[in-house]
């Protein structure tokens, strides 16, 4: 992990100031997890809680996921650049109010691969592909914005999958989906999955079905990914929390790539952007006949 990353005092001071003045009811940030190594979300309600706040390269969670739960109060949130894209998404989709969220933006050095009890020294794959190291929306910025350099080939693995034959693709995905235990952690960790009733829980018609079996799992994964088409902000929390290692980013990033190619759109870059499937251009053809 990088040394000299000392953003903690600034985050704590700001959080203390906000809680003491009563500007916010709660600060959503990170604290040390029970393994003493990794991080977990912290909800600080009292100025005394502030000293638990940390920020380092283990702070993986996309805390924007919690904002819809806190709609009725005013909160401050510690946001990495990817989390800030989720905040923009939620603002664009009118799920949260800008004036009720105070964003403590953090310049992010990238998050390392870690599981409970174990920290690796490699950056997460999504961080190796990251194009934004500075939050896109913030009220207070912590850290020095670096010069941004786009990654060389962000869709190398997607292209490899595309090149396979239909039979190969089919058996690859069948194997991945067969493993799913349908814990729905991928949905629950996602800042874009905020429906009060998910299609997977609709009873009539029963789109997905309660059976935890290949057919049902396939519907779940394909439609989950497609509901996030043009909305996914690539925090990759779904894949990180998956207990059976299903490569969900391969689905999400295929759609991300095609959205970029077809519509020239990346989600979460602004609070005003309309998701590409919620709009259209009359003159476009998109490879279809007239």
């Amino acid at each position: 992990m990088q040394e000299g990353l000392d953003l903690m005092p600034q985050i704590r001071d700001k959080a203390r100031e906000l809680l003491t003045s009563g500007a916010v009811d709660c600060v959503i940030g990170y604290e040390r997890a029970s393994d003493g190594l990794t991080a977990r979300p912290l909800f600080a309600y009292e100025p005394n809680d502030v000293d638990k706040l940390i920020f380092d390269q283990t702070c993986a969670h996309n805390l924007a996921r919690f904002l819809v739960n806190k709609r009725d109060s005013t909160v401050a949130i510690v946001a990495k650049p990817c989390d800030s894209r989720a905040i923009n998404l939620l603002l664009a989709e009118k799920q949260i109010q800008r004036e009720r969220v105070y964003v403590i933006g953090v310049v992010c050095p990238g998050i390392v691969e870690a599981t409970w009890g174990q920290i690796g020294d490699k950056l997460q794959a999504r961080c190796q592909l990251c194009r934004e190291h500075t939050p896109l929306v913030y009220d207070f910025l912590v850290g020095e914005p670096p010069a941004e350099e786009p990654p060389a080939e962000p869709y190398h693995d997607v292209a490899e999958m595309e090149a396979k034959s239909a039979a190969e693709k089919h058996s690859f995905w069948a194997e991945q989906f067969a493993r799913c235990i349908r814990c729905y952690a991928c949905r629950q960790a996602c800042p874009g999955c905020y429906c009060t009733e998910c299609f997977a829980e609709q009873l009539d018609p029963l789109w997905v079905g309660i059976r935890i079996a290949p057919m049902e799992n396939e519907v779940w994964h394909i439609i989950r990914a497609f509901h996030l088409a043009g909305r996914c902000i690539a925090c990759n929390e779904c894949e990180r929390v998956c207990p059976v290692n299903i490569p969900l980013s391969l689905l999400n990033r295929k759609l991300e790539k095609d959205v970029l190619e077809l519509f020239g759109f990346r989600s979460g870059l602004s609070a005003e952007a309309v998701p590409p499937l919620a709009t259209f251009k009359k003159e476009e053809r998109l490879g279809m006949s007239e």
Binding site: H170, A174, I222, G230, D258, L262, P276, S289, E290
Partner: protein, 136 residues
Amino acid sequence: MIEGYQPKIIGFLCNWCGYAGADLAGTSRITYPANIRVIRVPCSGRVDPLLVLKSFQRGADGVLIAGCHPGECHYVEGNYYTRRRFALFHPFLEYLGIEKERFRVEWVSASEGKKFSKLVSSFTEELAKLGPRREA
């Protein structure tokens, strides 16, 4: 080609154009293969990718969506959304191992009975060449 194999096609036809086009083919006595099972929808914009996926899961060899030509939607702009949605979903299906030939979005107006007939014929032929889908 497998001897005697008859592909199954699920057709989601919009009430105002695709379905009316199929109707015109019928009343004009223009024949087309009986391989298509028609589901009438109010607008091609109503077709959820979930319906397409479910069709494939339940044994369809091909899925067709037929709506009004862009600019001619009965609801003014429903089919513009269809176009975007399936321009994105089509390559996604292919990525998941469903050959791209198995899915079509076509614009068929109420006056295009002949076009509808040709469309179903060519789609059926193409699917017959491709053969049945692998069992899930």
